[in-house]
Amino acid sequence: MSQAATTTQRRVSWFEATARQRLAALLDPGSFTEFLGPAAREISPHLALFGLPAQFDDGIVIGQAKLGGHEVFAAAQEGRFMGGAFGEVHGAKLVGLLRAAKAASRDAVLLLDTGGVRLQEANAGELAISEIIRAIVDLRAEGNSVIGLIGGRAGCFGGGGIIAGCCTRLIVSEPGRISVSGPEVIETNRGVEEFDSQDRAFVWRTMGGKHRYLTGGADCFVDDDTTAFRAAAIETLAGRTPLTVSVLEAEQARLKARLKRFGAAKDGSEVWQALGVTNPASVPGMDTEEFLNATKAVRESADDAR
């Protein structure tokens, strides 16, 4: 048997998994209770107008569960349905979940996999994004944590990128991407000289998991493996950091300093160079352990806000 064949059988790829498979692998077995599941048929009221198919869960699975014995509320976006984009029902389910988490004083775990707001229901989607942000901040202000897990096919873009920025902690894998404007959007608005969206290696050097981890945009870097995400989530939930004004001020100061230090960089690899990574060109090729060892001394870390 080739190495590839055996690796495939051992590892369950987070990138490959569906939203439901991710939840099943992440949470304590049998502990998940879904709210507003497919049987409730809460479908998008808008997509039919565009002749587009709906899904009975509108592309997001929400519920409560245990994670390492810890009671949590969890949501998982399905990146394969409408690119995991936020529509009216999809957004409302997440808002409701976060408010319920606050009422129950539980931590929340968000499995983000989204291109942003669904264009077909953009107003409702944009409203949902702001409501989600508010709900996250409210939940965190009570001292609860909101953990974002990012490593899906759709990445975490648009409003999803802003939501990620409001989380207490982010766990990311190499294929995961975090940004507000996506590669094609930047290229369309600023030209191919500014950003070549077809150059996938460049896309990953500027918004991929390793880059975000190196600049403090994500807190924890794991293998593209459901087991690794679970272990990291359990470990992250053990910490607890309330969101306070001083935390925000410290982060603001860090971001200012970062802009000053790296603002002129044209490529992620230039940022890594400036950070002091030895041989930045070798970073994309490194496996997880090698990458973490090579960078732990130089990476930036966030001040519990980002």
């Binding site: 080739s2 190495q3 590839a4 064949a5 495939t8």
Partner: protein, 550 residues
């Protein structure tokens, strides 16, 4: 014929060399002097081969040629494998070139169609690669060949490297028939790593200062393979590869065949097929074949061209690939096409449209993509005389009356796809778009990729149709309808007849082969991402930037 001059071509060549030498130092021509140089060596109406195919391109020479003044150089007759770069068509817009005989036009398929409609191009014919190469030696011999190599020495000896491809054929036809050969090279070196083209066949060399352009055309990202494609791959492996014991074959470039390659070390292994099938290929170095090679499936591969990023892997696997004394791949399109035609027992590939007779085409009414090598791979060679088990078995299925000693074998020509392809376009159609195109352009032949009488099997997610076993036109049509799924063609099937064909094994459903469609899972793929392929190669395969998600 007393008094006739029998050496006019040698004299014309000497004139061209003299003219060109005024802009050269020895054989070396600087890129900045190319315009004046070309005006000195080219004559209006010349037959010119500008090297370029679906992979490598003499891009610097193409750019210079397209910038010539059409009052000096005009009405060229281009005879070349590929119309791929914009400059290849700019030449016709400007009147520098007028007539065209070619083979492949993938990326320019829409523009070439518009120019053909508007009469900007006088079309000779669209060929297969091997056909065009053949005509280089009979009635389309170039007066001038503009070729591309990795490096040259001062004598003009050329190293064409892994992407040797068409170069030896083009040079052979041109130089030995008193034509002029001009090569662009990445660099001029003291000593070339190996001599692919002897310097005495090369008249001028242009140091481009950069490598020629190569398209990574044969890289398929495993992340994009769907479960339906995996199902068709399982059907092909269990329903065709296994029973015919196909060892010598060629694969097309689609995702269905990439899925087959990635299922060999998993699903194929489970079926016990290692060593029994897929041991010898006429194939470009597909990255998706790495896991099968590493698992010991493949004994030998001869290649048309190379593939970007595969160089180190190929060099480290010289037991499998053809490599030179320098260690790097030696590809040769003409030889590999010949190998695919005569020494392979199967071709399997996907297409855009199949009609009720079984003709297939990748042409749509607004795009002329040309043929490349597929019609050559996907045809039954009537000149073949050596027996092999799959060939004899297919021949027997097609004809059970002729005595065995007089019966031709048959090459297996398999079309594989989903009943609805990209953008939900049906794979099966009443009438090929190629026919409308031929009418619009007044062509004498519709551009059919694989003719009905060459196709032996069609594989879709609904099952396999074995057309060899059909005994009349009606059975043939119902066998095709019987695997055409929910397309119009499929829905108009005669259900009773399709069931009868199924009882005879002409049509085989997944369940007839013991395949549960629910087992068609991406976990079956030996690699599910480009990174998996790189890992499987032990880091030797270096995927190009645009295929990386890291």
């Amino acid at each position: 014929m007393p008094g006739k001059n029998w050496t006019t071509q040698k004299a014309a060549l000497a004139e061209r060399i003299d003219g060109g030498s005024r802009f050269a130092a020895g054989k070396r021509v600087q890129p900045g002097d190319l315009c004046a140089f070309f005006e000195a060596v080219l004559r209006p109406g010349d037959r010119v081969c500008l090297e370029g195919d679906n992979q490598k391109q003499a891009d610097l020479l193409a750019q210079a040629l397209a910038e010539l003044n059409p009052t000096r150089v005009n009405d060229l007759h281009m005879v070349q494998s590929g119309i791929v770069l914009p400059e290849h068509l700019d030449m016709f817009e400007k009147g520098i070139a007028k007539r065209l005989d070619y083979s492949y036009s993938g990326p320019q398929s829409a523009r070439i169609a518009r120019m053909l409609f508007s009469g900007k191009i006088e079309l000779g014919a669209v060929h297969t690669y091997l056909e065009l190469f053949a005509r280089y030696f009979i009635d389309l011999t170039p007066n001038v060949a503009l070729i591309a190599a990795v490096s040259a020495d001062r004598d003009g000896n050329l190293y064409t490297g892994p992407n040797t491809e068409d170069t030896p054929t083009v040079v052979e036809a041109t130089s030995y028939k008193s034509g002029l050969v001009v090569a662009q090279v990445g660099e001029i070196v003291e000593r070339v790593p190996r001599v692919d083209i002897p310097g005495d066949l090369v008249h001028f060399v242009v140091p481009a200062g950069k490598p020629f352009f190569v398209e990574p055309l044969f890289t398929r990202d495993p992340a994009a393979i769907t479960e339906t494609q995996i199902l068709t791959a399982m059907l092909a492996i269990k329903g065709i590869y296994a029973p015919y014991r196909v060892r010598r074959l060629n694969h097309g470039i689609g995702f269905n065949t990439a899925a087959i390659e990635l299922l060999l070390p998993t699903y194929g292994e489970k079926l016990g097929l290692r060593g029994q099938v897929c041991t010898h290929f006429a194939l470009n170095p597909h990255p998706s074949l790495i896991p099968a090679i590493e698992a010991g499936w493949v004994e030998q591969i001869h290649s048309f061209g190379s593939e970007v990023g595969m160089e180190d892997y190929i060099a480290a696997r010289s037991d499998v690939f053809f490599t030179g004394p320098d260690g790097s791949l030696r590809s040769n399109r003409a030889f590999c096409q010949t190998a695919g035609l005569y020494a392979c027992d199967m071709f399997i590939g996907s297409t855009l449209q199949i009609d009720l007779a079984g003709n297939s085409s990748t042409v749509t009414t607004s795009r002329v993509a040309g043929f490349g090598g597929a019609p050559n791979m996907g045809s039954d060679p009537h000149g073949r005389r050596h027996p092999s088990a799959p060939w004899l078995q297919a021949g027997k299925e097609a004809d059970d009356t002729t005595p065995p000693l007089l019966r031709r074998g048959r090459k297996l020509v398999v079309q594989i796809g989903e009943s609805f392809g990209a953008k939900n376009e049906p794979l099966f159609v009443e009438r090929l778009d190629a026919l409308s195109l031929a009418e619009k352009l007044n062509l004498e032949l519709a551009p059919v990729m694989v003719y009905a009488d060459d196709v032996t099997h069609i594989v879709t997610e609904e099952g396999i149709a074995n057309l060899l076993l059909c005994r009349d036109k009606n059975e043939h049509e119902q066998a095709i309808r019987g695997v055409a799924g929910y397309t119009e063609i499929g829905r108009q099937r005669d259900h009773k007849m399709v069931e009868r064909l199924r009882a005879r094994g002409v049509i085989q459903r997944p369940e007839d082969l013991g395949i549960d469609p629910l087992d068609a899972d991406r976990n079956l793929l030996a690699a599910r991402s480009m990174k998996d392929l790189m890992r499987a190669s032990g880091g030797l395969y270096q995927p190009p930037s645009r295929f990386r998600n890291w």
